[in-house]
Symmetry: C2
Subunit: 205 residues, 2 copies
């Protein structure tokens, strides 16, 4: 088995895009990097490079990659076949949107939701925040999602960390402080909107 370098953040963002595209063409037996690249507006060499990092099977010169195989291999590489149990704190609109989100390929399973107000949402059971530590530890959950207002985010984050949560997906617009062994991903909607607007202004000036 060839030893693999650590994949870059950039490549990691492209892989789900490839996967989506390849799955849309699962009627084909083979798919080439040329084709993928052209449709997604990327460089074919880049696509090959990325695929070589994620896949164990190799492409067939002249034909491309075996569709059936690389779908499985990319999914395997991205960990899409594992179920990851998570909790969410903050049962406002955004929290509920994530609770109901169909997009997570059963890869991320939000098992429980917490809020200071346990009646926030009518169609799901919401637990009081105080119960978090106990439940998280009993169920051995390692992933936490923060969808509370920014004023409460650091506090919630600290509670999560002290309860054994090791990966935090933060939707509050604030720079959270976490120990460095904790994985943190900020989903900063404000910044995203800003990037879009900037691009828009650049194109139209």
């Amino acid at each position: 088995m060839k030893s693999k370098e650590l994949i870059s953040q950039a490549a990691l963002k492209r892989l789900p895009q490839y996967l989506r595209f390849i799955k849309e063409h699962n009627d084909l037996e083979f798919i080439s990097s040329t084709f993928i690249a052209k449709e997604l507006g990327l460089n074919p060499i880049l696509v090959r490079k990325d695929l070589s990092l994620a896949c164990t099977s190799e492409g067939k010169p002249g034909n491309g990659f075996e569709v059936r195989k690389i779908i499985i291999e990319i999914e395997e590489f991205l960990g899409l076949n594992k179920v990851n149990n998570a909790i969410i704190v903050g049962a406002g609109k955004l929290g509920q949107a994530l609770l109901n989100y169909q997009g997570f390929n059963s890869n991320l399973n939000i098992e429980m939701a917490f809020d200071v107000d346990e009646n926030k949402c009518d169609n799901k059971k919401i637990f009081k925040l105080e119960k978090l530590k106990n439940l998280v530890q009993n169920k051995n959950i390692k992933i936490g999602i923060i969808t509370v207002p920014k004023e409460e985010a650091q506090n919630v984050c600290d509670i999560m960390v002290s309860s054994g949560i090791m990966a935090i997906w933060n939707f509050a617009p604030i720079n959270l402080k976490v120990p460095e062994n904790i994985s943190l991903k900020n989903e900063d909607l404000t910044t995203s909107a800003l990037i879009l607007l900037k691009d828009f202004y650049n194109k139209n000036k």
Copy 2:
């Protein structure tokens, strides 16, 4: 006025982070790149470089940057003082979350929401999708947000483009096709979650 190179995507993502941090310290008269960098876990030279791209005023050797001034200049650079009117299509939970989101510094103003079902949300007026083109053109709105299921996303996107929308913020997990003069920002929650999970597994293996 010194001519500025086009700012990189990476720098553009850091600037809001700086801004947030600097604003938290608006009791100071001066703030140094050293201090900002240390607190945010970045390289001070990088911070200086980024600030030099966004700000017109220069730092004072030995002291740093004038807090009052660079807050204004970064906001100006990021366009945070402009109000950008937008529409949203898809009034489900995620759409409602965005409609109610307090985080957009009044920078992004979602003026109207559309859905196939005009009774989707009780506390806001939702317009029928058919009315989009007329309303968007009358109000001269250039920014559209897509929060519909992925099956409908491309159709909604096409309607937006043909109505004059020039910048699209897409929350559906699908690769939309848009003409190249249109700005498109995909907010792919699935991919985000995946990046977090990957990092988590890397750290804990």
